[in-house]
């Protein structure tokens, strides 16, 4: 493996067995390498396997076959405890539906990501406030998610994803629920954060304006990265 490769997927397959007996290959024998610090975007139609791919890379799901090597470690072979540690320390997730805990304030949502760490309470709160400030939400620290706009909620989600200083940011349709202006703003925040911290970003999206921020654009169809794709954006 090259020195600067942070994500390497070898013959990665994820198959779902339906009750009808049918098999769905959400990710099908997929090979991909992503260098450290790259902002890589995957575009594909709904059901092409993009979210499944992110879940496999982020350790939320286990592959049926193949390997997911992240930062030199095959996460498909990790036990439960090491997988949790990997999710906590190596990756940050941003979801289309924000996935904030509705009963917690903006600050508490970020603190929740820091809770399992050994950080002292005061340090944790200060870190959460710094992150909220960095995404422009200094005045919204005590607001519940339902008191925030969609763009603000996504900014909280980004701040939460950055909380543990992960090496990889996984963005699953981060602008899917936002208008273009807000979506661009969110992508800009992610782009800046990744360039400042040297984080690798893997985003899956439908939004055409991602081209402005991405280093590499990939196309996914039927669980595979297409070598000669038809660009669904243009």
């Amino acid at each position: 493996m090259q020195k600067n490769i942070i994500i390497q997927l070898d013959q990665l397959t994820k198959t779902y067995h339906l009750k009808t007996g049918e098999q769905i290959h959400a990710v099908n024998n997929l090979n991909l390498t992503i260098p450290q610090g790259e902002f890589c975007t995957i575009i594909g139609a709904s059901g092409s396997g993009k979210t499944t791919l992110l879940n496999l890379i982020g350790g939320l799901d286990k592959p049926t076959s193949g390997s997911v090597i992240v930062d030199g470690e095959d996460i498909s072979k990790l036990n439960e405890r090491d997988t949790v540690k990997f999710r906590r320390e190596k990756v940050g997730f941003v979801f289309q539906s924000f996935n904030l805990i509705q009963t917690l304030t903006a600050t508490e949502n970020i603190e929740a990501a820091l809770a399992p760490s050994e950080m002292a309470d005061s340090e944790r709160i200060n870190h959460a406030l710094t992150l909220l400030e960095s995404v422009g939400l200094k005045s919204r620290i005590n607001h519940l998610p339902n008191e925030l706009s969609a763009g603000e909620q996504q900014r909280v989600a980004i701040a939460r994803a950055l909380a543990n200083k992960p090496k990889i940011l996984l963005l699953d349709e981060p602008t899917g629920n936002l208008d273009t202006a807000t979506g661009k703003e969110i992508m800009k925040i992610c782009h800046c954060a990744s360039k400042q911290n040297g984080q690798t970003v893997l985003a899956v999206t439908h939004a055409s304006y991602v081209k402005e921020f991405t280093d590499r654009l990939l196309y996914m169809q039927d669980g595979k990265i297409q070598t000669n794709p038809v660009d669904p954006i243009n």
Partner: protein, 369 residues
């Protein structure tokens, strides 16, 4: 938790009900036991034996026991009474009333079971078997009649000198005004009462044998009336008549119902929080973090519920028993037991939902709405 007010309040109320029920029932039952046994415990006995009599004309006074008129019987029958299986000791007492004054003859050598015991003396001394004209007088009675140590005191034919003042608890069923040696007491009465008494204080080896012993006394001595603690309490107390074992049983049933109810609400809570658990797993929470979180929330709910339940339980007990003397309203052991029961109920009730939550796959949980 504070923003899931409805569920939290429902759970806390459940624990309040358990603990308040337990504290109230057990405290009341224990007070009931105390109140029923207190009158006899005061004189170190398990039951008294008398021969009930109809109302006797008061011209020459009458034999009484705990306000019941009674016939005198031979003091020598104590030996036979003591031979009844289960009886440890039988102590003779002569108790007589003339007008408003109650007079007792007793054997001062009996220092465990008696109408008056050495620890009742607050001034002067207790009697010895050699005292033929010495008397102990109730402290309040002496104060009311300006009697002191050395004062003379008469009862019908008897002339005595006060050697001691005693503080006798109102709960003592043989509480009297004047106490003298048994032979002196027998001689003080108008007729010849030598060798006669009208009360036998009976102590048994095992208090559980009281009903059996009572029945045997009735069988052997026709007309004998054994009076046990429960007989006295049935007519003197209006507190909730329930024994401690029943109270515990009811409390445990309430606790089981509450545990089942809480399991149901906790399972619902966890189901409602499936998506949230998925998020927490996605951001790096482990199974143990999730389980701990659910246990901590449950512990806080049970803690708050237990505390409020204890307070309400003490309040209810005070309301029911406030007027009774000699009972403990807030027994730390009962409060601790109530609190512990709530805590255990909480742990049991949250164990299954916690386990269910912990084994959720993050992707499945995230898909839940």
């Amino acid at each position: 938790m504070r923003r899931r007010k409805h569920r939290t309040i429902v759970n806390v109320i459940g624990f309040i009900i358990v603990v308040a029920t337990l504290v109230t029932l057990v405290s009341t039952a224990r007070a009931w036991d105390t109140s029923t046994s207190q009158p006899l415990k005061q004189i170190g006995t398990d039951l008294i034996l008398i021969y009930s009599a109809p109302v006797v004309p008061s011209g020459t006074g009458c034999f009484i026991a705990n306000h019941l008129f009674s016939f005198p019987f031979e003091q020598s029958s104590m030996t036979e009474i003591q031979q009844v299986e289960g009886i440890k000791n039988a102590v003779p007492i002569l108790m007589h009333r003339m007008g408003a004054v109650v007079f007792v003859g007793f054997d001062p050598e009996e220092k465990e079971t008696n109408a008056i015991l050495p620890n009742n003396i607050v001034e002067g001394r207790y009697l010895t078997s050699e005292d033929t004209n010495a008397a102990i007088v109730d402290y309040e009675y002496a104060k009311l009649n300006n009697l002191t140590i050395g004062s003379p005191i008469n009862y019908i034919k008897g002339k005595f000198q006060i050697v001691g003042l005693a503080n006798i608890d109102a709960a003592n069923i043989l509480k009297s005004h004047i106490y003298v040696n048994l032979p002196a007491g027998q001689n003080a009465l108008p007729e010849n009462n030598t060798g006669l008494v009208n009360v036998a204080l009976i102590s048994v080896y095992d208090p559980r044998d009281v009903p059996k012993v009572s029945q045997e006394l009735i069988d052997k001595w026709a007309g004998a009336t054994p009076i046990a603690a429960t007989d006295l309490a049935a007519s003197t107390s209006n507190v909730l008549k329930i024994n401690e074992q029943t109270a515990w049983n009811i409390s445990i049933i309430v606790a089981v119902v509450t545990v089942l109810f809480t399991i149901r609400t906790q399972v619902s809570t966890v189901s409602e929080r499936t998506h949230e658990i998925g998020i927490l797993k996605a951001i790096g929470w482990s199974k143990s973090n999730i389980v701990n979180q659910i246990f901590i929330e449950s512990a806080i709910q049970t803690g708050v519920g237990g505390l409020i339940g204890c307070i309400i339980g003490v309040g209810l007990t005070w309301y029911l028993l406030g007027s009774m003397s000699g009972v403990t309203i807030a027994d730390p052991l009962i409060l601790a037991a109530g609190f512990l029961l709530a805590l255990i109920s909480g742990i049991v009730a949250s164990a299954y939902p916690a386990w269910k939550a912990a084994k959720l796959s993050p992707t499945e949980a995230l898909r839940a709405i």
